[in-house]
């Protein structure tokens, strides 16, 4: 392999490492630089709960049945 080709490969490798480090750092600090809105956070938590709930339903082979004695709550916003 020529020295020129080795330099090109080395440069690309270095570039890939730099890009990965920057991306990782950006991913790590993104939430603190751009925090999610309460609505986005609530939606995210709901998705997480939904995921867990669906897994539980499947694990227990459970079925939903309407419950008695409850009322809807009108709540604006997230928490």
């Amino acid at each position: 392999m020529s020295r020129r080709l080795q330099n090109i490969i080395g440069a690309f490798t270095l570039l890939a490492i730099i890009v990965s480090v920057v991306a990782l750092a950006w991913w790590a600090i993104y939430d603190s630089v751009f925090p999610p809105t309460p609505e986005e956070r609530e939606a995210q938590l709901t998705e997480e709960r939904k995921d867990q709930f669906l897994k539980a339903l499947e694990k227990g082979n459970l079925e939903l049945h309407p419950a008695e004695h409850w009322k809807p709550l009108e709540v604006e916003g997230g928490d």
Binding site: K50, F53, G60, L62, H65, P66, W70, G77, G78
Partner: protein
């Protein structure tokens, strides 16, 4: 953004639940802004028991009762004997589908005259109890609730329309005990016990006596006076022996002397029917006529010896009426 929250109104906790969140009981869940139960017809235990095991001593003695449970409970007692069921999520217990019609058919096929909702806490499988009890009554079966009575008044009154008898836990007469040992509150339980009485449901009380936690003379007097004042002298009281388990495995079993002392205090306060439980061979297992003192139902453990009662529930010796449901 409006969220789809709901509030459960079944028990005094009144859990407020966001979407896909479960109540404290582990079995009621908000899906799409509507509350659902996960345990309707999801039995995790079904057995044929003697009525005396519930315990009910003045309700169809020496008969068999078909007994079912699901996972979940709305209290978290540190001494729970059935914590593997009551403190588990329904997806973590071994369940079998048993719809109300199956329960009734199984009960009848096995020669049981009644169905018990028991072992864990029937309040949290409320809809299953109600649907099964309605069907069972239509088929000539009786319904028994074995409960800690941590339930709101409205659902309780509705349920009482289908219930023939309850064994209700009154675990202590101290609110601090309910808060610290059971993660609950005493006043709603007291209200529920009075409601059951008002609804004309046959009721017996169980007091699990635990060394160092609820076993002083002062507490015994307060407990028995409250029951006497609110419910009268004829409600059967079961003073039950504690065995170390779950989070209280460090405590010793209740000494016989403590149970005997508690029974003597209850009799001194004026109660007519005071029983000692979980202690086979204790004289406090049998029923004595308050009129003439004769032994009218002799028991040892779950076994019944002689029964000296008329078919109408009167003492064979003096004719005194003994309160209960005898046939």
């Amino acid at each position: 953004m409006a969220t789809k929250q709901v509030q459960c109104l079944l028990c005094p906790r009144h859990c407020e639940l966001r979407e896909y969140e479960r109540g404290d009981c582990r079995v009621r869940v908000n899906v799409g802004g509507e509350l659902h139960t996960l345990v309707w017809a999801e039995a995790c235990s079904a057995n044929i028991d003697p009525m005396e095991k519930k315990p009910l001593f003045h309700f169809l003695p020496a008969t068999w009762i078909f007994s079912i449970a699901t996972a979940g409970c709305n209290l978290h007692c540190k001494f729970c004997q059935n914590w593997q069921l009551s403190q588990s999520n329904p997806e973590d217990t071994r369940n079998f589908r048993l719809v109300p019609a199956d329960v009734v058919a199984e009960a009848k096929a096995s020669g049981c005259g009644s169905v018990a909702y028991t072992y864990s806490e029937p309040v949290v499988f409320y809809e299953y109890v109600k649907d099964t009890a309605r069907l069972a009554r239509g088929e000539g079966l009786r319904n028994v609730l074995v409960t800690a009575a941590f339930i709101d008044e409205k659902p309780l009154r509705e349920l009482c329309q289908f219930i023939d008898a309850t064994n209700t836990d009154l675990k202590s007469i101290r609110n601090e005990y309910y808060q610290e040992i059971c993660d609950g509150e005493l006043p709603p339980v007291q209200r529920a016990i009075k409601t059951i009485q008002q609804e004309g449901v046959w009721q017996e009380l169980t007091y699990l006596i635990i060394p160092t936690l609820n076993d002083t003379d002062e507490e015994f007097y307060d407990y028995f006076h409250w029951v006497l004042d609110e419910l009268g002298p004829d409600i059967p009281l079961h003073l039950s022996r504690f065995y170390p388990t779950y989070k209280l495995s460090n405590l010793p079993p209740t000494p016989t002397s403590t149970l005997t002392r508690a029974r003597n205090i209850a009799l001194e306060v004026g109660h007519n029917y005071v029983y000692v439980g979980n202690m086979p061979g204790h004289p406090g297992e049998s029923t004595y006529c308050p009129g003439c003192g004769a032994t009218i139902i002799r028991r040892r453990g779950y076994n019944i010896g002689e029964v000296k009662l008329t078919a109408e529930g009167r003492c064979l010796f003096c004719g005194r009426e003994i309160p209960g449901v005898w046939r």
